[in-house]
Subunit: 240 residues, 2 copies
C-alpha cells in the first residue's frame, strides 16, 4: 500500500512548522512593551525567549524536575529574558498576558489552506511540546482545524523522548506506521522515525530569521519532503 | 457577568447527549449479525451491551482493576452480550469490527447544526468516558467539530469521579466556573456542578427508547435547560 494510503493520521509539530513564533512573539513584545516605553531589538527578544525552551524542557526530560507544562516553563523563562533586557516595569498581570502571546501565534501563509485540504483525508492532531490550553487557544485564534490536541501534555513526555511519539499513536489507536509526523525540524523527524512513525519534512527556512542555517533542508530519508502544507497536500493527493 | 459570557468552554457528555447510541448500535448489530443469519431483537441487543457499561467502569473507579480504556471494556462486554444472545459464529475480526460500531455512532438531528453555532463563541471539547480514538473516529464519521478531545482518557478517571471534571478544566487552563458541562443526564451534571462547573441539561427523552422514564427532565438547578443543541445555542446567544 502507498504510504499516503496506509497513513490515517497526520500529527504536527507546531512551533515553527505550523506557526511563525519568532515574528509573532516579536510583534507582541513590541506592542506590549513598546507601549510602556521599551525600545529593544524585538526579534532578539523573541530569539532569546525561545533559546531557553530546550534547556527548560531538558530538566524535565532528565528527571531533574517533575512534569510541568510548557506555559509554566515559558513564564519562568520570561523572567530571565526580562532581566537580560533590563525590563523591570511589568506587573504580574502584564507578564501573564505577554506569556500568553504563545497562545496567539500566527500561522504561516499556507498553513490554514493546507490543513483544510489535509483534513479531508486524514485525522489532524498536534504533536507539540505545547500544553493543551496553549494549543486550543492558538487554534481558536488562528483557525487551525485540528481534530484533537495531543502531544506532550497528554503523553506526559517532552519530544524528542520516544514516549511522546509512542503515546500519541496509542491515543489514536493506530500503529506508528499509520501515523505521520509533519515537522520542519530534522531532529524531531528522526526521533519519530525511530519509533516507526512516517515522516514529512516541510521547509520553514526563515523560522529563525533570514540568516538561519539549521533545518534548511531534509537531511535524512523522510517519506515526504515539501515546501509548504499546500505542497504536502498535493503530494498526498488531498484536494478540496 | 452573565454565565453565558463568563463561560469560555463547553464540554460535552457524548453517549446519549451528542449521539444516539441505541439506534446506531442496533442498526450496526442488525447489519453485521443479520448478514450472518442472526435474527434477534436488535434494540434489546444495544440496551444489553450498554447496561454493562457502568458496572465495567465501576471496577476501575473503585480501584478493583487498573486503568483501562473504554474500547477494551466495550470489547469485554461484547463477549457477554454475544453469550447472552447465543451468538457463536463471529470471528475475532468480526467482533473487533462490531466493537468499533461505538466509533460510528450517529448524531441527533440537531447536533451538528447546534455545535456549529456554539463553536462560533466557545471552545468545544468532549468530556466523555469514551477514549480518545473512539471520540476522534466518531467525530470524523459524524462531522462533530470538536476543538479537542478531553475526558476520561486524558484525565485517567471515569465520570462521575470529580477528577474527570477537574482535570478537564485544568487541561483547558480555565477555572471550573468558566467551563460548562452539556449533558442529558442529571447525575453527570450534578457531579460536574459539585466541582464548580457550569451546567446545561439537554433533554434526550428517547435515548433509551420510547418508554424511558429516566432523565426526562432537569431535576436540579442547572444553569441552562434546553430541548436541543439549537435551543441551547439560542439561549447562549450563538448565531451562525
Amino acid at each position: 500500500m502507498a504510504v499516503a494510503d496506509e497513513v490515517k493520521a497526520l500529527t504536527f509539530d507546531v512551533f515553527g512548522t505550523v506557526v511563525n513564533w519568532r515574528e509573532s512573539i516579536a510583534a507582541e513584545a513590541k506592542a506590549l512593551l513598546g507601549a510602556k516605553g521599551g525600545d529593544h531589538d524585538w526579534n532578539a527578544f523573541a530569539l532569546s525567549w525561545r533559546s531557553k525552551y530546550q534547556p527548560a524542557m531538558e530538566k524535565v526530560r532528565s528527571g531533574e524536575r517533575p512534569w510541568i507544562k510548557l506555559d509554566d516553563l515559558h513564564r519562568e523563562n520570561l523572567e530571565e529574558v526580562l532581566t537580560e533586557f533590563g525590563i523591570t516595569n511589568l506587573s504580574d498581570a502584564e507578564k501573564d498576558n505577554l506569556n500568553r502571546a504563545w497562545h496567539r501565534l500566527e500561522p504561516w501563509p499556507d498553513t490554514v489552506g493546507g490543513l483544510a485540504r489535509l483534513k479531508r483525508k486524514y485525522i489532524l492532531a498536534t504533536l507539540s511540546n505545547g500544553n493543551i490550553a496553549l494549543m486550543v487557544n492558538m487554534a481558536k485564534h488562528s483557525k487551525l482545524p485540528w481534530d484533537t490536541i495531543l502531544g506532550a501534555e497528554v503523553a506526559r513526555a517532552y519530544k524528542p523522548q520516544p514516549e511522546a511519539y509512542q503515546r500519541t499513536c496509542e491515543a489514536l489507536g493506530l500503529k506508528p506506521a499509520q501515523v505521520m509526523l509533519v515537522a520542519a525540524h530534522n531532529g524531531d523527524l528522526v526521533a519519530a522515525k525511530k519509533t516507526g512513525m512516517r515522516t514529512a519534512f516541510v521547509r520553514r527556512a526563515t523560522e529563525y530569521g533570514l540568516n538561519e542555517t539549521r533545518d534548511q533542508k531534509a537531511e535524512h530519508d523522510f517519506d515526504y519532503v515539501a515546501e509548504s502544507f499546500i505542497d504536502l497536500a498535493e503530494q498526498l493527493g488531498c484536494r478540496l
